[in-house]
Subunit: 388 residues, 4 copies
Amino acid sequence: MAGSLTSRTLARPSFESAFEPPAFLAAMLAFEAALAESQAEEGLIPSAAAAAIVQTCASVTFDLESLVAEAKRNGTLVVPFVRTLRAAVAKANAEAAAHVHHGSTTQDVLDTAMVLCIRPCLEETDRTLDATVRMLAHHASQHRASPMLGRTLMQPAVAMSAGVKVARWAAALAADRERLAEAQGTALAVSWGGAIGTQQGLGERGIAARKRLARRLGLEDSLSWHVHRNAWIDLLHRAGMVVLTAGKIALDLSLLSQPEVAEMREAPPQEGVGGSSAMPHKRNAVGCMHALAAATRMPGLLSTLHAAALPEHERSLGRWQAELVVVPEIVAALGSSLDFLDIISASLVIDAGRMKENLNAYGAPGTTQPGDEATMDELLGELSPYLT
Amino acid sequence: MAGSLTSRTLARPSFESAFEPPAFLAAMLAFEAALAESQAEEGLIPSAAAAAIVQTCASVTFDLESLVAEAKRNGTLVVPFVRTLRAAVAKANAEAAAHVHHGSTTQDVLDTAMVLCIRPCLEETDRTLDATVRMLAHHASQHRASPMLGRTLMQPAVAMSAGVKVARWAAALAADRERLAEAQGTALAVSWGGAIGTQQGLGERGIAARKRLARRLGLEDSLSWHVHRNAWIDLLHRAGMVVLTAGKIALDLSLLSQPEVAEMREAPPQEGVGGSSAMPHKRNAVGCMHALAAATRMPGLLSTLHAAALPEHERSLGRWQAELVVVPEIVAALGSSLDFLDIISASLVIDAGRMKENLNAYGAPGTTQPGDEATMDELLGELSPYLT
Amino acid sequence: MAGSLTSRTLARPSFESAFEPPAFLAAMLAFEAALAESQAEEGLIPSAAAAAIVQTCASVTFDLESLVAEAKRNGTLVVPFVRTLRAAVAKANAEAAAHVHHGSTTQDVLDTAMVLCIRPCLEETDRTLDATVRMLAHHASQHRASPMLGRTLMQPAVAMSAGVKVARWAAALAADRERLAEAQGTALAVSWGGAIGTQQGLGERGIAARKRLARRLGLEDSLSWHVHRNAWIDLLHRAGMVVLTAGKIALDLSLLSQPEVAEMREAPPQEGVGGSSAMPHKRNAVGCMHALAAATRMPGLLSTLHAAALPEHERSLGRWQAELVVVPEIVAALGSSLDFLDIISASLVIDAGRMKENLNAYGAPGTTQPGDEATMDELLGELSPYLT
Amino acid sequence: MAGSLTSRTLARPSFESAFEPPAFLAAMLAFEAALAESQAEEGLIPSAAAAAIVQTCASVTFDLESLVAEAKRNGTLVVPFVRTLRAAVAKANAEAAAHVHHGSTTQDVLDTAMVLCIRPCLEETDRTLDATVRMLAHHASQHRASPMLGRTLMQPAVAMSAGVKVARWAAALAADRERLAEAQGTALAVSWGGAIGTQQGLGERGIAARKRLARRLGLEDSLSWHVHRNAWIDLLHRAGMVVLTAGKIALDLSLLSQPEVAEMREAPPQEGVGGSSAMPHKRNAVGCMHALAAATRMPGLLSTLHAAALPEHERSLGRWQAELVVVPEIVAALGSSLDFLDIISASLVIDAGRMKENLNAYGAPGTTQPGDEATMDELLGELSPYLT
């Protein structure tokens, strides 16, 4: 088992496995198979070769340790991957081997595989956000008339409705969800252009094959994005914004969960969760912890993504390769945030009585009536698609 | 004169002055004046008070040193700003003074002022990008048949057209321009909600006043964004992506300008520019330097923006305040990138002869024909709006 | 007045002015004067020339606007600076002009000037840390037997002494102070090596002149650090760690200042400080705000410093130039942190009664006795130099 | 196999396995065993219990999948780890089970385990740096009279010796090595203090046990560093500086390896390494790629470390937990840099003939003699310990 033990303890299993060898190799093979078929359809390689390649992609296996070691030595996973695949194809059809990976380069395979591997994670993100926003909107609606202390600069400000606070969380997540969906529309694109992104001189048929490849993989078509990657960066940044919003909610919740405040909390979905190794009486806010750890990491993770966006010429030596580590890490942090959202969807506790007590105790005289019905209405209007 | 001397030597004057006291105070006053008018129209404050406030906003002056010192002591610029404004209004109309800044908080004024100050910078960015893309598209079109070495991982790969390379730069900037315009559509929004973003109990008329305020300032209307700022962050991120694209172009250009390569270069628009303090014979690539320095800064600047996105409760103690420094810095880096784009728009030199020589000298046998007409056509198609 | 208005409202005046034109130009002139003298002493330039240069450095003035504009156009401040200085020297002694800036390059002047400008800031930092540690150690000693809730993962843990908490803050600052002093011992070094850091062929006498230059400026001698800057980065990083420690203290204090907790707080040194523009009844924790804003910025600022540490060849195009902005910003953030330390040195309030109440109310049964005398003794032992 | 496939292709196997479950669990067990022994020696737990714990630590096994799942659910690895260990101890000695992990908290075990796991990596770093500096110093000495173009701002400057360039690389690595060794002297420390770092009321004997624990593990003794972690951060930062220096060398080398320049290169230690998946004729600079990818990541990694340095109260909710991911990542990037250093130690090729040609072709008239003997002597003096 590879990967640091400690980082695994923060991971969302489905997001972790999305980039592990089985899933990632499957995505690489999906690329090679669909490429062969697409090129055959355009007459760029023989149909028989494509058939052999497709068949082999469904059955080939890799010796992982040697694959990784060779990848390291070569500075690219794709060299030993293609070598193995070619050898396997050759056993079925000697001639077909030469047509494996035709006109392709490392980044084509790896960028497309990244896209294929991130896609189900983003779909899961969308579903989780939908469910969380619904539940938060429901809470907001229920607590639209529960007064609580609004707090600014870590001090009491004026009264607000608990519903406003929760509705803002919901609206922020809903906006993140929309932005993320929008970015996927262009950024979940195929990468195929060969050495320098010009389809290796295959001309119009090369471009037609690329369009076919995109359709086969269910991805957007795109001009080469080996070195101009801002659509992709925009997508990952928007995933990062989900993590920041979840972090903000977790921060609020962790402050509200202090026993001196005790206005809201995540309730562990299960007996015995959140225990402390030193203090058996203690219940830790495990969900908040995951969300805050992810949010703490996100600025640095995105900054690496941005630093990697200075590639030289037609493909980079070292910059792009940093993405090979950081993209799965960004997704991992997103997964931790979803774990938090799952927990609060299932278990957010709002103590209206305590909120009222605190408001009376700490609110400035004459500031204990929220008076935010209009704001509440606006927010619930915004959230109406989630309130059905 | 404030600000570090060395940072000033990297600044684009129009972008620097956009956040300097005169412009920023003008934006704050524009907010207060428009707020008073909007509130008067909704009957929230007397019309006479609004008139006095508007009039005073047009004439009030500030003792900058004392304003800054008081802002520092109070932890907010708005306290001494409003105090001075109130005192000035009181001279004209004693009763009106109480209606200054009605229902507003620090962040309302400062966030709206930031938006107002960044707006002309983004307009200038849009014009500069338009001009640069046009010029690059023109170069691309002219050099569509000029073969050059494609380079990957810092080594010769296969032949490409110089036109493809330049068209990609252009297309990347054009896409950045579109993304930036799109983000402005939602993010250049008014901020007004009072202490905790709920219009201080002014109800429907408060919301109506906010919509009027937005229209008066030519900004989008928005629910309170004191602590849920992802639309704003998305906009600044997209500005940052322009800086990264400019940096990538500058990096390519700096590599191509090495005398051993000598295929392209920025030509200083003026005699004597780019001199060295140690070596009179030397011509430095001043534009590239500005773009690369800005791109070197951008990951860190954005990471601060992201780190600031974890505010507590209804307004933050310390997080948001980091934006007060970093937003002008992000804009400053963008300005340096535009300076670079201006230079290459005016002076990009492409040496087709030398490109051919290098291709012959360093290209692998049999790889000296680009064969990228189809890619070129696709790119020019994408750029067609700029090729008129 | 240049520099964004909002960033000025966060600045410590002495640290801000350290990098403003008067101070920075003075440092550049100090370099040029001391260089001339040192070179004359080694016979590298005529003594009369050195005398003329020294004299002119004491009187020359610059047209700032044109200096900045020329710096921008040339990509270096040093070209117009030296041109102006040479012209001024020429008026006094035509022959001497040729000996100005002899054997020097942009980075020599600017790096040395940076060092000269940061030095008084670090001295002020040392004094502030010393005073703060003393005051905190004194508080710790006084409250060694005041029980309070220890808190972990934002929940009550077990009892501790307030003295332990405060002594830890003090010990952390004391350790930062030592680390900072240690790094200054090597990093406050002269930079002089000419175009590529090899003393421009001046040989042994060049090296001897560099040593003299260092002594004259009160700096460490050093081999060229144009592109190998880790001693300098180490120093700035250690300055950054002071900011992080101050941020941690401010975070604790902001949590303890919540009225629901109310165990410690910064007391504004002056009536009327910390007011809110929306809520006159409110007292904001201005010091904490400054420290937290600085700490929020620090990871991004240091990451830019690290990103700049990949220079090409003998001097960088764009990387190093990013330091010209980020070093003054790092110092500015340090200044904000010192402002916070000054405030708590003057006004930290510890409410032992409330701490006891909270401990009784929220501590787990049987965990209300600190039992940390041994830890307290260890910490006070560590702090003994500050307890005299 | 866990961990993203792509990140594994960049990892140094010995550094990767250092934080994988077998090594990390072994370190955790080493902590628990040594803790039991140390506490028994101080009479804090019965000797028989300690013996049973030590014995069990040598033989206990964990169901990894369930350990990780429980760790995730509990927000800490230590809860299920201790539960399993206790159950195993109980089988041998029912009474001893209660003494497992006595007076300890999650951070005690995990921080100490991190230190134990990083230690061999730092030892390997030290050996690699020593070997690399020796080899580079040897090259420098051999090429002390080989003239080459010095280059600044990506353009030819004046002549220098190849020896100066290489000696600077060596001196920078040697200085990094010293700084790293120095930081280890204080930062490789035991962490043991219980829930809030005060030895859980065990008093003087608790402190004595901590000192014994440190000695047993071969670590430094230290006051609790749960929340004041700057010594540790300083160490990791210095590891990061090695990565930056290696990145700078790799950047230079990648520029010098361009065929148009062709002055130096890494020679693949083995036939067939560095192949391209698109272009069989191509040899990629695999070592440089690893070093540059690591250097691209480092600013973001360190910024996460710095962001994590704002813990609340006595132990943090979410900040510190970010270290659980980022510390192994920092070490992983360091490993990639060492792989590069290994490659250049074995295979750096310097082409003195080509350097001379380029100097003649591109050097300014009259600048083709290095004249840097004095600098060369200084550098070799600095490197003398490595030249034996």
